[in-house]
Symmetry: D2
């Protein structure tokens, strides 16, 4: 992986938040708080701001009232305010759409740089959010699967090789594991990319794009996956459990995938590992190795492969048009 | 174990409920419900009726407003109404104090036979309670350690050998494990006695009596013991955790002992086993074997050995006078 | 449920063992011991005798070398030797096939009464087995899901209503939960029947019979289900995991179903409850209620509904012929 | 925290290994492998090289045969070979003892810089170790508490304020939490310092020094703490469990402290959190706040406060002389 160090004078720390569009704010708030176990920091007429128990910032998830489900923004935290300016120069140089938000123009969030990345994803960078109390040791308030933090997003684009190259060469991401076609083709179908040293902050997958497959929340312990299913089912959401519990070969995640009342997808998982030694060679998987998707577990339903969330255009505020993948995106054992 | 079969024409099914005296009903209700994870079925001016998630009866714990902490009653469920009459004949023949309560004279409870057993314990037998919905599959309501059922009581009496003999010979209890002095003395210091096929419904221990050491609630899973401690500490009750987490050798229980706001003691535990083969020889432990008390775990505090709860006299409604043990009651490794 | 008390002068305690036929004794021993976590008590040329950690008897599972997979025997423990004679009288009176085995004619097993029940199942009753040390507190030897005991068998017969009636009326089983068609039909499709006070020792289901669907082993804790899957997958048996993890509505079991190297099926599960109050009305489920099969979880594969194990004829030693069910056996949501 | 950036041209990645002296190599190997659940990579006549399941390097723990228990070396991994040269310049400039080891002079370990830090601790820096296969997905080999990685060391020195300043200002460590005396004194009694983004790689505590209190291994899940105790006790090491299970307020660790057969101490724990946002203000605790030591749990035994491991002098190969603390080191609630 060659890095373009000329203008890599910024430090993206980690994925910071995700914004999901929901039709009925109250229904979705109850779902994410009472059935999933996130915590409400605050709400206003059009938004509910949620956080997980390790969060010391105002929000890691925003529910925004909208007639159409999908993804409003993907937020990354940078180290310092200057990093935002450096990133702005980079996106400007490439003539990518961008926009500044003043501090607190988004509730709880400092100065924010909004961009459309080269693949069409609505990314926002920020250095500061309003601090809040961590709920980690407020054990009497913990419930169900008890999400600890927003860990990663998994996005689809017509050619994940391009996404892999952009994020590693231009934005300083590292790769923990990846899926590739057999030699001599050696084309990247999917890559698990990180800034914080876990298996990923961002996975890029080949598929119809730009769309988002899911956001992933980590849990305190493996039993959290079972507890999450039990609580969802008891609260009337058994049919919202789309896939799992099962364990991915890639990343080692013990997971369950859930659709919210609007069909937006998220993952609850545990079991990944630290990636502190950044020069560790990434782990390679063959696309058609069934152990990649499921170290064990029932076959994924087709909807898990075929459905993903629309993302918003920075220019129009409407969902981005979607392009078909340029290479095969679904493993042979699913077809 | 010889059984007196002449008048054993009744069937005690299991421990059914426990009544604890508390000074501040509202404070205790919040403790047991919000911090421990029991559920309130109902309350009136002087009582709160609680149940655990497997319960299909009105209550397995009653908190009763009283100026003095301690134990009001220990309830056992029998199989049929006729069993109550048979038991009454037995206690009457031995001129032990007894009293009938009409159905629903105790809220949620059918016809009830109250007796003082030969050691002074306030026992009540019932065949029927008001049915309630099980909360077992209401997973979205489960919290903390999530007690599943009232499992057993552990009581002290000056000579546990006598208690062992009464409960096995006269009332049909079986023994799963027991503590004995070395031969040739062979005196029973403690015995774990059951009617339902777990390790016990009733443990009798040598000590100042009649007093009750604790009531034990079983949990859904071993992690419940950790969750219980976390929730208690976060809710401000860290100092109420008296002993554990640790594992007893005897009964294999992974446990924590907790004192309620009035100092009443209860145990939260998992890990015991089924005792369906009733003729299985009971397991013998030496009193001074430290693995008996703690398969592993920190040394128990002296208060755990020295403090226990007063029990109520059927005749006077006042606490029973307490007699010192007639043999050594505390293991050598504690002294 | 009317009981035929005239000749119910015996006491069946619980399911005691299961015999599975396997093609390669060594391969199957390694599977059940190294990948599943059972313990080998002993073996001879044609058998491996296995037990779980709560067992205090010689075996709860026998692997027998045979060219054809399937079930050799289903063993139930009775309380006393006399119970065997009483049972023999009952089966003889009904002219059902039976045979006596002398003590230790089956290794580790006392005098044994072998019968073919009215539905064709090869049942054996015994009162005594060779005692062995419990491995419950040998924690350093525990591995993977760590089965605690053989809990139940689940069998198929053309009309489960008949099986329900025979086992409750003639053999003293109790019913914890059952599946029934809608009124006014009220036909029993499946019934969970117990002698020991858990949800079942024996489930009877409508389907092609006599065949056995599975034997179920209970685990120490819910995480055991995840650990079992992880260990099976790592040991190369990911494709042997047939269904789950998921939770049944009926019995509340958190389960995984596994096929052994010969295709014999077993379940690893936790989460059921005590059924000490035998007069508790059984819980009724509608056949077509999807929450009955899966409180939550992925749809069961068709093979789980369509495949089951042949059972052995006492007379011929060959697999019993199989009859089609006389009523619909597969829920609507599967078809 | 002011950083001396002039010569901070190196990148310490994380704690890499620990070397413990043991009297009987075979006994200690069996203890750490069979009872604790570490894995042996290799051994020679004087050493056993161990690793945990996330490790992709040759060893994270070395057992070295020696007549005296204690700590031989504390290894930190740096990012690149050049970092070693930069660190050498820094230690040389301060005239601290140092020595180079050629690649593989220590088995499995590349070029290594050994130094004595200003407080007397034997530190070694390396950039490369022999790669080995991760055992993370070899679930069929996992046992007991299943340590995932060596996470941190906790060391004592006469004045932890000095250690805090050296490691943060000169070596680039960050502080997650710390213990301080009341204002206006504001003296640091202990500090939890990290390079990898967890709560610590290195904790410095005020006490007799230089000595090491413990090395800490993280576990896969909270139940691992219970499983570790069960396995240790069953294997005959119940008395080696020194403290816990309990939960620290500081770092949120659910822990157990264990003494190996030579008395060397280590911790098995889970429950800490990510510290990716390095500018997050560290969390302050008062020395005499009992919730700092034990969010909940039994009182620590005095030996836990009073005993620690001698560390080796680079110059002499003998244990370093120990100085008494210059300020009070033990909380009031222990005295």
């Amino acid at each position: 992986m060659e890095r373009n160090m000329d203008d890599m004078n910024f430090n993206i720390l980690r994925l910071g938040h995700i914004e999901y569009f929901v039709d009925d704010l109250s229904r979705s708030r109850d779902f994410y708080v009472d059935a999933v176990g996130l915590f409400e920091t605050e709400r206003d007429e059009r938004h509910v701001y949620l956080r997980a128990i390790e969060d010391r910032e105002h929000h890691s998830m925003v529910l925004t009232q909208s007639g159409t489900p999908g993804v409003g923004a993907i937020g990354f935290r940078v180290s310092r305010e200057e990093d935002l300016d450096q990133l702005a120069r980079k996106f400007q140089a490439r003539q990518l759409p961008m926009r500044w938000l003043q501090p607190w123009e988004k509730r709880g969030q400092g100065r924010t740089l909004q961009v459309q990345d080269p693949f069409g994803f609505p990314i926002e960078y920020y250095a500061t959010k309003q601090p809040v109390e961590s709920l980690l040791q407020q054990y009497h308030l913990h419930r169900h699967g008890c999400p600890t933090r927003l860990d990663h997003v998994n996005v689809l684009m017509p050619d994940a090789q391009a996404g892999y190259e952009w994020y590693t060469r231009e934005l300083g991401f590292f790769c923990s594991e990846y899926t590739q076609s057999a030699p001599p083709d050696d084309h990247v179908y999917g890559a698990w990319l990180y800034r914080k040293p876990t298996t990923h902050d961002l996975a890029v997958m080949t598929g119809p794009g730009p769309t988002m497959h899911h956001a992933g929340f980590s849990l305190m312990e493996p039993m959290g996956v079972i507890r999450a299913c039990d609580a969802l089912a008891a609260a009337g959401y058994a049919d919202n459990i789309e896939r799992g519990p099962a364990r991915h070969g890639i990343s080692n995640a013990l997971f369950v995938y859930v659709r919210d009342p609007d069909g937006n997808r998220f993952e609850l998982y545990t079991g990944d590992y630290l990636t502190v030694d950044r020069d560790q060679p990434p782990k390679r998987w063959e696309l058609d190795n069934p152990r990649r998707q499921s170290l064990w577990g029932p076959p994924p339903p087709r909807c898990w492969f075929e459905e993903s969330m629309r993302v918003t255009s920075l220019a129009t505020g409407e969902p981005q048009p979607v392009q078909a993948p340029t290479t095969r995106a679904i493993p042979l054992y699913v077809e």
